[in-house]
Amino acid sequence: MSLFWIVIRQLAEIEAMAASKKVITREEWEKKLSDVKIKKEDMNKLVMNFLVTEGYVAAAEEFRKESGTEPDIDLATITDRMAVKTAVQNGNVEDAIEKVNDLNPEILDTNPQLFFHLQQQRLIELIRNGKIEEALEFAQEELAPRGEENQGFLEELEQTVALLAFDDVTECPVKDLLDISQRLKTASEVNAAILTSQSHEKDPKLPSLLKMLIRSQNLLDEKAAYPRVTDLSTAILEDPAV
């Protein structure tokens, strides 16, 4: 992480110097970059943090063996968390709820929004499977009381139930709810809640660092021409356009 702060500070210094748009050559830039000392362990921790948070157990285990980096969480708990996430992604919401409750009953008892979203996902799955009667009964029995407790939930519930009103759901304005992305959204919400309950950050650090890189490059673009990284997957320095 310190790498990025150092780069940003240097960028700021350059920015301060530049009266007009300054050109920085590849040699100058690379020299500056090589001046920045980053500990290998810090980089490894960053990678491990990503693997653990995103739930790549096998990769994390492998990375631990190869790099000797200790994960900041028991890897066994990742397996449980991933089982929950996968269940939601596959539409087995009831199964996912039971798994969360076995993991820690407090999560859904103290997080009404998450609980509502899981129940809503259950309703969506029933509708998707054409179990209309069951869906209606479920909405009335399980979701309506939550809507009474919270105005926001009521609105979301109304939207979801709207799916039932259309014979052809592709015409329904809330058809996105049936999209796979809705499952992913719910899954990531559960994932985040489990992580928080384990006192772990719910987002990996790496993506936000990359966002910071992009932002600082954008800021610098206004002041200087320099070898920038455009393709994040390769991180190749591109020659400045003069």
């Binding site: 709820i97 039971e98 409750n101 820690n104 009953p105 407090e106 859904l108 008892d109 103290t110 997080n111 009404p112 929004q113 609980f115 029995e141 399980e142 009381p145 939550r146 407790e149 105005q151 928080t196 006192s199």
Partner: protein, 655 residues
């Protein structure tokens, strides 16, 4: 043993689950308990249904059964914890089922999963007011608590903190905890996991709250490092941690004038709490309450908050409707505190038209919101400038306020009376609005309430209503209220009501000569009551108000002045009246001033009977006392005494 079936119309009553919960087959029982657990978690309605159905004792039985496997115990504890989570009826059912001692016992179980489940359930129970109070004075209890706090297990440390938060209430309890080294243990947890940090901050705040001794102990802990750790946590990335750290610092700041008084930290607290208002969850709901306690009664803090654009911020928040009732209540209370002293805040409040939003909230379905809106209105209506401009005395504001006088909730009624008291201190043309809205009838009704706080505030509102009112207005109120009711209010059992009743009479008899007549209605029942109260009460405020009533009456006609003379200096003194000299020699300068005012009005030289009264006063030793009072340390007393003596000399000179 057959279970009794519960014949009822609800969906789950025919559920055979009750039988399965007490099945002799362990596997069946396990599945049934797990099923109940999964149905009730997150679902308040289901919790209540199952509690009603009698599921709790059956689930608890599995906990007590020594044949239960650890897995079964875990399920049972988890289900009981969920019953207790957020539902008081559930806590009661769990306690009634006798599960509490078993849960405590299970904390020392060999299986870690069992320990976790029991600790979680106990934590849920301790979040309720119904949980049994933990006795910190018993040595073994304290040892156990320290053991919990020292544990590696987060659920156990969390339970320890939960016990402190629930049961530590008095200063003595706070001191016992400090003495036992709990502060040290809790500060260690500040370096722990997220949940440990939060538990630690919350319980630290409870232990040092309003206890200067505990605060200094905490501040000096690890040569100040504990305090700096907490200060550091106000910058934490988790909003809940930031809020709890602020609350902890607030406890330090508010209970002692020695710590955290520099402007930098004060400003920082203001900004952090304002920023926390944006949180969409529970933290955002609680932040305005914390903000309130930061600025309440403190003008310097209110100034800082004003400079940080707090009013603007709250206004923006209110635009985002619908807000959670809890948050709405907090925002109105915070605005009330902001506007309680500073006119700049009130101006900003009014120019941003926050008033409309507050008025809308007067009819909110939640009683706490209605009450908070009234409290806010009371603060804003302290603005003399806007009162005179009639900003509040219009139907849109007054009508809903008058409606609230018959609110089912007493605290709302009291809060509404508070707002009305201010709003009716208005100048002539507007008072009719209040009368048209039926306000007087409601107020008079409330002066007859069984609840003394309602009587007090209703009389207070009437007192302000009568202040500088015209004859039509006064007559209207007098007819509604009646002289005999006023006399009984003067004789109320509560001294605070007596005082307000006298102040009400004082405002009635203030002004033109016709006003004085009110005191003589129904054979002078009011005046007699005033005399009786003056005789028996020793409270300065009451004596003072009583003397001003007499002073106002003595400004009337000859007959009125004589009545006051009769009352103060009866010819057949029965000895029970404290001599008037005692009022003149009171330690309280306000009382002396009021007493001299009476003499000033009695000796007004243009009156026919002045000479006779002056002679009487002379022979009673009042005049010589007045001469001594020319040297009074209080300027008010001194000037009035000189004035009275001038009149007296004048009267003697003329004759």
């Amino acid at each position: 043993m057959p279970t009794t079936s519960a014949p009822s119309a609800t969906g789950i009553s025919s559920d055979p689950i009750l039988d399965r919960l007490s099945s002799s087959d362990c596997d069946v029982k396990f599945k049934a308990i797990r099923e109940v657990k999964n149905r009730i978690i997150g679902n308040r309605t289901k919790k209540l249904s199952y509690i009603k159905l009698g599921a709790v004792p059956k689930v608890a039985a599995a906990l007590a059964d020594s044949n239960s496997t650890p897995d079964l115990v875990v399920q049972s504890a988890a289900a009981l914890g969920s019953f207790a989570c957020g539902v008081d009826a559930g806590v009661r059912a769990v306690l009634d089922a006798g599960a509490f001692p078993h849960l405590i016992r299970l904390l020392s179980a060999p299986d870690e999963k069992v320990v976790d489940a029991a600790a979680r359930s106990l934590r849920m129970i301790y979040q309720s007011k119904l949980a049994p109070k933990y006795d910190f004075f018993q040595e073994e209890n304290m040892q156990f608590l320290l053991l919990l706090l020292k544990s590696e297990n987060e659920n156990l440390t969390g339970l320890g903190a939960g016990i402190i938060i629930h049961s530590c209430e008095t200063n003595v309890e706070q001191n016992v905890l400090c003495h036992a080294g709990v502060l040290e243990k809790l500060t260690t947890l500040l370096d722990g996991s997220l949940s440990q940090r939060e538990a630690s901050l919350e319980s630290l705040a409870v232990i040092i709250k309003c206890n200067p001794e505990a605060v200094s102990k905490f501040v000096e802990l690890h040569s100040g490092r504990a305090l700096s750790s907490v200060t550091e946590l106000t910058k934490d990335r988790y909003s809940r941690t930031r809020l709890l750290a602020c609350l902890c610092l607030l406890s330090v700041k508010n209970s002692s004038s020695c710590y955290l008084q520099d402007i930098a930290i004060k400003t920082k607290l203001v900004y952090i709490l304002l920023e926390l208002l944006d949180d969409s969850g529970q933290v955002g709901d609680e932040a305005p309450f914390a903000f309130s306690s930061l600025i309440a009664e403190k003008e310097d803090m209110q100034k800082l908050a004003f400079e940080a654009n707090a009013i603007d911020k709250f206004n923006c928040l209110l635009q985002k409707s619908p807000l959670h009732p809890k948050r709405l209540e907090g925002v109105f209370l915070a605005l009330g505190d902001l506007c309680s002293k500073l006119e700049c805040c009130r101006s900003s409040f009014l120019s941003l038209q926050v008033l409309n939003l507050v008025v809308d909230a007067l009819t909110h379905e939640d009683a706490s919101v209605r009450s908070a809106a009234c409290i806010c209105l009371r603060s804003v209506s302290r603005s003399i400038k806007n009162l005179s401009a009639g900003c509040f005395m219009n139907k849109r504001v007054v009508f809903p306020l008058v409606q609230l006088l018959s609110d089912p909730c007493t605290s709302v009624q009291v809060a509404a009376l508070g707002a009305i008291s201010n709003i009716v201190v208005d100048f002539m043309p507007h008072k009719s609005t209040f009368i048209q809205c039926g306000g007087i009838k409601e107020l008079v009704q409330l002066t007859k309430s069984m609840d003394s706080s309602l009587r007090l505030n209703a009389v207070w509102a009437l007192r302000n209503m009568v202040f500088l009112a015209d004859k039509v207005c006064k007559d209207g109120i007098f007819v509604e209220l009646t002289a005999s009711s006023m006399a009984s209010l003067i004789c109320d059992s509560e001294p605070s009501v007596q005082e307000q009743a006298l102040a009400l009479v004082r405002n009635f008899v203030d002004g033109c000569v016709y006003s004085v007549e009110y005191a003589f209605a129904e054979d002078g029942i009011i005046l007699n009551a005033v005399g009786r109260l003056l005789r028996k009460s020793s409270k300065v405020e009451i004596g003072m108000q009583g003397l001003y009533v007499l002073s106002n009456i003595a400004s009337g006609k000859e007959f009125h002045k004589e009545a006051v003379m009769q009352l103060l200096f009866p010819q057949h003194d029965n000895g029970s009246l404290p001599s008037f000299n005692q009022f003149l020699q009171s330690n309280d300068s306000r009382m002396r001033t009021a007493a001299v005012w009476v003499i000033v009005n009695l000796t007004f030289p243009k009156s026919v009977g002045s000479f006779g009264r002056t002679v009487n006063l002379h022979s009673l030793g009042i005049v010589s006392q007045l001469k001594r009072m020319v040297e009074d340390t209080c300027m008010d007393v001194k000037l009035r005494a000189e004035h009275a003596l001038g009149q007296i000399n004048n009267t003697f000179g003329e004759n």
